[in-house]
């Protein structure tokens, strides 16, 4: 267990700045997700913490001690690699025991610790198999056991769930969280998948172009992204351009094309009348309505895609922009038909349009 602190961590590759003076403090036992698209600097940050990449500037502190100059093989950091990186010429036991053998521990202690770790990831009895004889999920558990068996001070997870099918993902999410809490190890996850980030981490850090855009609890980042860019990345689908147009009780009015929508006043605090703004809302929060009312708008269905538990629509004619509701009722929705949509005020995120 340890704390991890990044101070002004910077990495430049020639002209290109991959990570730009990043600051971060992870408490003991905390699980933090670095979330961003490819090229946002999250992997470079991970590699700098691991010691594979040398920072251009800044410091990495583990338990308050600067480790930037310590070579990677003496940092005692456990890493879980995206493609697992299991040694194909070694059995499961040898893979997990690799780090312990390097420490020249007594044989029976190695056996004990490997077996304990394999039990923790529910792979007891698999120790004599080779990685190629295991399923994807099992390989992943070996990789996790191997990263943890040396009792590292920090655990780094690189896209831990991206190679798994949907069912295994959910299973491993629960598993990783359970093991991380059980061992209380400070953990950094790197991922491009917002669902993975919010379901695993205690705190989520959204990155783009080497900068931190937002730090917050999973719910904050998921429900209240700090900018339209983050909202887009967090899975918001419908974005409406509008103009702030006065207030009504504790609601603010936003004019979007021919319609006026209401949003909660506290969501639109930074807007003054006449400001251009952007409203963002998730597909699943747009509903169909029986009758006209506040925030209902009529539109024409352009396409309807059945997705199992929801049906995703493309609706035009509501505003200038296309609207993408995901509705539960399929019955009377067909391409070309008219729908009355309700945009619940509390689900809108409101941003000043800075352009």
């Amino acid at each position: 267990m340890a704390t991890l602190e990044l101070q002004g961590l910077t990495k430049r590759f020639g002209e290109f700045t991959a990570v730009d003076s990043m600051n971060l403090k992870a408490a003991e036992g905390e699980m933090i997700a670095l979330l961003g698209g490819s090229g946002c600097g999250k992997t470079t940050t991970l590699r700098m913490i691991a010691g594979f990449t040398e920072p251009t500037a800044g410091q990495i502190l583990v338990d308050g001690k600067n480790v930037s100059t310590i070579p990677p093989y003496r940092r005692n950091i456990g890493i879980f690699f995206q493609n697992y990186a299991l040694f194909p010429h070694m059995t499961v036991f040898e893979n997990v025991a690799f780090g312990l053998k390097l420490q020249k521990l007594p044989k029976n202690e190695i056996r004990e610790r490997v077996e304990h770790m394999l039990a923790l990831v529910k792979l007891t009895g698999m120790d004599k198999r080779y990685p190629r004889q295991l399923s994807g999920g099992q390989q992943q558990r070996v990789a996790l056991a191997r990263a943890l068996v040396t009792r590292p001070s920090i655990l780094l997870l690189d896209e831990p769930l991206s190679n798994l099918d949907a069912k295994l993902r959910v299973e491993m999410q629960v598993e990783i969280k359970r093991i991380q809490k059980e061992l209380g190890i400070t953990t950094i996850i790197v991922t491009h998948d917002h669902e993975e980030a919010v379901s695993l981490a205690d705190r989520v850090i959204v990155m783009n172009a080497g900068h931190i855009l937002q730090i917050g609890k999973p719910q904050e980042v998921f429900d209240r992204p700090a900018s339209p860019f983050i909202a887009d990345f967090m899975g918001f689908s419908t974005f409406l351009h509008g103009i702030a147009a006065g207030a009504e009780g504790d609601m603010r009015l936003i004019r979007c094309g021919a319609h006026t929508l209401q949003v909660p006043a506290e969501a639109a605090q930074e807007l003054t009348e006449g400001d251009a703004c952007i409203l963002a809302i998730r597909s699943e929060n747009i509903r169909t309505a029986e009758q006209e009312g506040v925030n209902t708008v009529r539109g024409t269905v352009k396409s309807a895609t059945y997705k199992g538990h929801t049906t995703r629509l493309e609706v035009s004619g509501c505003f200038e922009e296309m609207v993408y509701p995901a509705i539960h009722e399929y019955a009377d929705v067909q391409e070309g038909s008219e729908v009355l949509l309700h945009f619940p005020a509390q689900h809108f995120c409101v941003y000043k349009d800075i352009k």
């Binding site: 093989y73 950091i77 990186a85 194909p88 690799f98 390097l102 191997r146």
Partner: protein, 264 residues
């Protein structure tokens, strides 16, 4: 589904091709047991005396064999060091002119060995007094290098370099990573290359015949010299033994390459 049955003309053609490849070898093997001094086929009777002749002192075949083994083993061993490091240099790092460098490493494959031997001969005569073994060793060192480089590169080309990072993160120093991860995983390619290189050196005639001195002659040259003077079944006998030795090596190679350690 692929068709399982090949039609008859195809089969006959395939069998003829195989016979064409195999027939000379069979003739040589059978002829080696001829009791008469002239190679006749089919042989009149059975004798092992030509085999005894190989090991007799008059032919010097055994000296040639020892020399060839010395050259083959030393040159291959030295080239494993050179070839593996050369292969690592072009696979591990990305830099400008990487492909050109790889082509440079493998260029001895494309230069005619006679031309190459001629140049070496010039150099040796300039220096003067270069011992016979060193003359051939240097030549072989260069011409067999491409086999080791190529085979090692083909393995490293698909090598998962993250494995090195993984080992490092578990506390392995760069040297430990090299010997516990990189080398064991590249071994099938290195071994395949080494066997091909050794066989090439063991069999090499053109370069060796130009560079050899009367005091240091390799087995193929010894056989050639013998053939010029005498044409008896001793040649068939030694050919049979060489075929046998090659077979053993090929089986060994199959075993090494067939392990498929690097296939996930």
């Amino acid at each position: 589904m692929r068709e399982k049955d090949v039609n008859l003309p195809c089969r006959i053609f395939a069998i003829l091709v195989m016979l064409f490849l195999l027939a000379p070898l069979v003739v040589i093997v059978i002829a080696s047991f001829t009791p008469t001094a002239l190679i006749t086929f089919p042989p009149q009777g059975f004798s092992l005396k030509w085999y005894a002749n190989i090991f007799g002192s008059s032919t010097h075949f055994m000296d040639g064999l020892v020399n060839s083994l010395k050259i083959g083993i030393l040159a291959t061993a030295a080239d494993i060091l050179l070839g593996v490091t050369a292969a690592l240099s072009v696979c591990r790092y990305s830099f400008k002119g990487k492909d050109a460098l790889l082509n440079y490493y493998t260029s001895p494959m494309y230069v005619p060995s006679v031309a190459f031997a001629f140049v070496l001969l010039q150099v040796y005569s300039q220096i003067g007094g270069v011992p016979g073994m060193l003359r051939i060793f240097i030549g072989h060192l260069i011409i067999i290098l491409p086999y080791i480089v190529r085979n090692t590169v083909s393995v490293l080309h698909v090598f998962n370099w993250t494995l090195e990072d993984a080992a490092t993160s578990m506390g392995a120093t760069p040297i430990q990573v090299f010997f516990k991860i990189t080398i064991p995983l590249a071994r099938p390619g290195i071994m395949a290359g080494a066997l091909l290189a050794f066989l090439y050196s063991f069999d090499e005639v053109a370069l060796s015949s130009l560079l050899s001195t009367p005091r240091f002659i390799t087995l193929p040259i010894r056989i050639m010299n013998y053939m010029e003077l005498t044409f008896d079944p001793t040649l068939a006998a030694i050919s049979t033994l060489l075929i046998l030795a090659s077979l053993v090596l090929i089986v060994l190679m199959e075993k090494f390459v067939g392990l498929d350690m690097f296939v996930k």
